[in-house]
């Protein structure tokens, strides 16, 4: 029994004093009489073992750390290498884990968020379409699978009165949305159903409240001007609340106008629902499909082929983002593995050089366990230093990586928090063990026998094989990384080479979202545009300027159904077009070429013939091979006649095909309708640096309307680049990983060969003494590294191909077996091998046979 208690002590302590302690205890037990005395004795013994056992472990730890500290100080170069390599591996993994955790794992910050689902209408050609208010209300009334269902619509508003006019992003929320999410305001209250009727109230985000209202509690109850209308602040949300997107800062109740409730084709609502606890996702889908089918039968014209899409709210991350993050995670793990193999190799070499020291200690009575413990403390200490450095590096790199987190995730920005720290501690310990255990076991296997053999004993063949295997693993992983980053780079170039359909250089863009009701009518808008455009066009360096509803890529929606008299509309076919209202000057400002006819002109006024300029793809779809000028079609409940044809534009971004485009005259809108489509984005083509005009344009807008905020100031190039931003970040990060891996593998080869040359100096000397030419020695050494390299490259190519297949969805159509990427990676690997072998080979050729042989 007492021996069990002794297990709490370190085994070296036990071996030393266990017998005596046991004997002491036996004597005491014999003296103790009576139950209570015995129980007390056992109790005391247990407490003693627990307390002193732990303390003895700590004593050992202190000793080992002290010893490790001394060892490390004796070889600072070695220690620095180990720490740096470990830092690279741990830092890379930590940084990527932070992002991956956000994108893939971490639950949304809502109550019981696993039961929240997002819903869309499914229409021909679109599986995820926003809801129209009447359909939403019908769904909400009929569905029984859900505890609650609530809608919201993104909302952008101009805030006037607190400093510079400012455009704020947010959403209109159904009153029951926040309670359903289970998020309470930090201050103030939720919306009520009264608010839904009367409006005029608003809830602020923590960031906006702090930046614009100084974080004053009295802000609750204050009135602010939004789009020129007074709103009362009724609440402030907690800092981590960011809905529906990262950066959303203002919310007001969702209200429906009578016209909204009548139109089943005005789709602008997003809907979230909470499943009943006993209803599965599939069951909910089934019910929603049945309800939709009923609505389709009930309203055959407006709800033709209506379906429903239901998906977990957490799964709203696109396949691309998911693949991208997974690829990065895999790459980071590769770097970590390479770092570990490299470190294991370094330590193996060092363990060999320390074999004498260890043998001396073993022969003096240090148990195997004691030595392993000592060596592991050393490697854990090194890993710990590396981990600290790595986490610091990761937190420095995070701002770059944050761009990989899609903004559509309703979460605050990722940062290094307890979860991440816990992860990196785990990784650090695992790393320390991974690179420490093997060398420690190896080093202690031989024990005292090494003492006799003397210093020159050769390296066992087994050990060499293990080290070679480690190097092959390193080479293959780094080749795989090189291949995948090469593939990504090629995919990026391929995308960047795509013509977006407009000339992106030298164009400044900005948004002046005109608030309603002030600008509900066409006339005041016209005045505003005229004044701004004439001012801007008069600026020196401006070639042309024009407004549009939404710039391509920056805004991808705004899709309407097209109908053409005399052409049958097949319901299953996609008949949508991207619709924009523009002012004259928009085409030249964007550099969109006119292929036929004319553009939109000032003469296309409210009383003139309603005209349209369409894209070539539009002509291709409806009148292939014919002249479309003078033909007419219906869009947004109006008939338009085609007066011109423009070049195709990639409205949906470089990667996706776009709907055909339709451009309408900004004057040919009816008052109060389609207000959302009122031109708001200004494009200015200049011969000077576009950003040099920002201040002047702000002044011009301010003169036209002092309350009008200017937002989203960026160059057209920036908009296009934002489209590939996450790709560029990823290619860069993966490229960096590949470079690190590459370097580490080169160091690994170098280390292995250096060591084997130094071990074989004598053999080489004998060979040379017997007449071997330097060329033969050269091929001896290079042959060794060449075999390792070939094995590594072949394995790596296989791995790289598999990885390429797995991430096909982000390769933009590139073949995962892309020749140039593979060839480059393999050529680099060969170069790396040669570079790594250079020094050891030179050393081998320079061996002086006389010295080498005499040394024995």
């Amino acid at each position: 029994m007492y021996r069990l208690l002794l297990l709490f002590y370190p085994s070296s302590f036990r071996a030393e004093y266990g017998e005596e302690m046991h004997r002491d205890f036996t004597r005491k037990r014999q003296r103790a009489s009576g139950f209570f005395a015995l129980a007390g004795l056992w109790m005391a013994a247990t407490v003693d073992a627990l307390r002193n056992g732990l303390a003895a472990h700590c004593d050992l730890l202190r000793q080992d750390v002290r010893y490790a500290h001394r060892t490390i100080r004796r070889m600072p170069g070695f220690a620095a290498t180990v720490v740096l390599v470990a830092a690279l591996g741990i830092g890379a993994t930590t940084a990527v884990f932070t992002v991956a955790d956000h994108v893939l794992v971490r639950p949304l910050p809502y109550r019981d968020s696993g039961r929240l689902v997002r819903m869309w209408e499914a229409r021909p050609g679109y599986t995820q379409m926003e809801l129209s208010p009447p359909n939403y209300l019908d769904w909400k009334a009929s569905a029984s699978s859900f505890e609650g269902m609530a809608a919201y619509a993104p909302w952008s508003t101009s805030l006037v009165g607190q400093g510079e006019p400012m455009q704020v992003e947010g959403a209109n929320l159904a009153a029951d949305l926040l309670p359903m999410l289970g998020v309470a305001p930090a201050m103030g209250r939720w919306f009520t159903s009264d608010d839904e009727r009367s409006g005029g109230v608003v809830i602020l985000g923590d960031g906006l409240w702090k930046s614009r209202f100084g974080g004053r509690p009295e802000a609750i109850g204050e009135k602010i001007l939004l789009d020129g209308y007074p709103h009362m602040i009724v609440g402030v949300m907690p800092p981590e609340f960011s809905f529906p997107q990262r950066g959303s800062q203002i919310w007001r109740p969702l209200r429906f106008a009578p016209a909204d409730l009548a139109n089943r084709n005005n789709n602008y609502l997003c809907a979230i629902a909470r499943r009943n606890p006993d209803i599965g996702l599939e069951q909910a889908r089934l019910e929603m499909r049945m309800i939709s089918a009923r609505l389709a039968a009930q309203y055959p014209n407006e709800n033709r082929e209506l379906g429903a899409t239901v998906a977990n709210l957490r799964d709203q991350v696109s396949l691309q983002s998911r693949t991208l993050v997974m690829a990065l995670l895999a790459a980071a793990v590769c770097v970590l593995l390479i770092a570990c193999t490299n470190l294991a190799n370094l330590l193996l070499v060092r363990a060999l050089s320390r074999q004498k020291e260890l043998a001396v200690r073993a022969s003096l009575g240090a148990g195997r366990e004691r030595l392993i413990r000592q060596l592991l403390t050393e490697s854990l200490l090194l890993a710990g230093l590396g981990g600290t450095l790595g986490v610091a590096g990761a937190s420095a790199a995070l701002p770059l990586l944050v761009r990989l987190v899609p903004t559509s995730l309703p979460m605050a920005n990722p940062g290094i928090d307890g979860r991440v720290l816990l992860f990196s501690v785990a990784v650090t310990v695992a790393t320390g063990l991974a690179f420490g255990v093997l060398p420690a076991l190896r080093a202690c296997r031989h024990g005292a026998s090494q003492l006799r053999e003397g210093s020159r004993s050769g390296v066992g063949g087994r050990k060499e094989r293990l080290r070679s295997a480690l190097v092959v693993a390193e080479v293959s992983l780094s080749v795989a990384l090189l291949i995948t980053s090469g593939l990504l780079m090629r995919a990026l170039w391929r995308l960047q080479a795509i013509d977006p359909g407009f000339q992106q250089t030298g164009v400044l863009t900005l948004r002046t979202a005109l608030p309603t009701p002030k600008y509900e009518k066409v006339f005041p808008r016209e005045t505003f545009y005229r004044q701004v455009l004439s001012g801007v066009r008069a600026l020196p360096g401006v070639q042309s300027a024009g407004f549009t509803s939404f710039l391509p890529i920056a805004m991808r929606g705004g899709i309407w159904a097209v109908e053409i008299a005399g052409q049958d509309r097949r319901p299953s076919e996609n008949h949508s077009a991207s619709m924009r209202f523009i002012t004259p000057g928009y085409f030249p400002a964007m550099g969109i070429p006119l292929k036929l006819g004319r553009g939109v002109e000032e003469s296309d006024g409210p009383t003139a013939l309603p005209v349209a300029v369409v894209s070539e793809s539009f002509v291709q779809r409806y009148w292939p091979g014919q002249n479309p000028i003078g033909r007419s079609f219906q869009i947004a409940s109006g008939t338009r006649t085609i007066v011109g044809v423009a070049g195709n534009v990639r409205v949906r971004g470089l990667e996706a095909p776009s709907e055909p485009q339709v451009y309408l005259s900004y004057k040919q809108m009816r008052d109060g309708t389609l207000v959302w489509y009122a031109p708001k984005d200004l494009a200015v083509r200049t011969t000077v640096d576009p950003t040099s005009l920002i201040a002047a344009i702000r002044v011009i807008v301010h003169e036209a309307d002092p309350h009008q905020p200017v937002s989203d100031v960026q160059t057209l190039t920036e908009i296009v680049e934002s489209n590939t931003a996450s790709r560029r970040v990823q290619a860069r990060v993966l490229g960096a990983f590949a470079a690190i891996a590459f370097l580490l593998a080169a160091v690994g080869i170098h280390g292995l060969l250096s060591f084997s040359v130094s071990q074989r100096t004598q053999e080489i000397g004998v060979r040379m003494a017997l007449g071997a030419k330097p060329g033969q020695i050269l091929s001896l050494i290079l042959g060794e590294s060449g075999r390792l390299a070939i094995a590594g490259v072949l394995l790596g190519a296989g791995l790289g191909y598999a990885a390429g297949r797995a991430m096909q969805s982000i390769l933009a159509g590139l073949n995962p077996g892309d020749g140039p990427a593979f060839a480059t990676a393999m050529a680099l690997a060969v170069m790396m091998t040669l570079a790594g072998s250079l020094l050891p080979t030179v050393r081998a050729v320079r061996v002086d046979p006389a010295i080498a042989v005499r040394a024995e």
Partner: protein, 142 residues
């Protein structure tokens, strides 16, 4: 496992390489160990005159303090291990007369360095008591 050389564990090899003493070094080494943990001081006193084994040390300390301090085995052996490393005590090579000896027990005796440390600790405590008296704390009269 253990030789009769007084070297207890392989770790002593490197701990002891640190002690290539000069006199001034030794003084600062003594200072480094003060104040002594209570158990350490008592063990030093217990082995000051006679060589004793572990269990005998526990009994001696209990007797000296009138039963006020009963060292637990864990505390005792952990202290012994540390004191050996610090060079305060040593394991003795010679044993008492066989009829008195339990063959398997190990005996400890105070080392020269341990004596110096114990003296320094006693001086430190005496100084402390003197200061306490001067401040009006009067031991013995209460």
């Amino acid at each position: 496992m253990v030789g009769a050389t007084g070297i207890k564990t392989p770790l002593d090899i490197y701990t002891h390489t640190g002690y290539i003493h000069s006199v001034s070094n030794r003084q600062s080494e003594i200072e480094d160990l003060l104040p002594l943990p209570e158990a350490t001081f008592h063990i030093l006193m217990a082995v000051a005159e006679d060589d004793r084994h572990g269990y005998a040390i526990i009994q001696e300390v209990a007797a000296r303090t009138g039963g006020a301090l009963k060292l637990s085995p864990g505390t005792l052996y952990r202290s012994i291990q540390r004191m050996l490393e610090q060079g305060l005590i040593q394991e003795t090579a010679e044993r008492p007369a066989p009829e008195l000896d339990d063959e398997r027990r190990r005996y400890y005796r105070i080392a020269t360095f341990g004596r110096a440390v114990a003296n320094a600790e006693a001086r430190r405590l005496a100084q402390l008591v003197k200061l306490a008296r001067e401040s009006g704390f009067a031991p013995g009269r209460a």
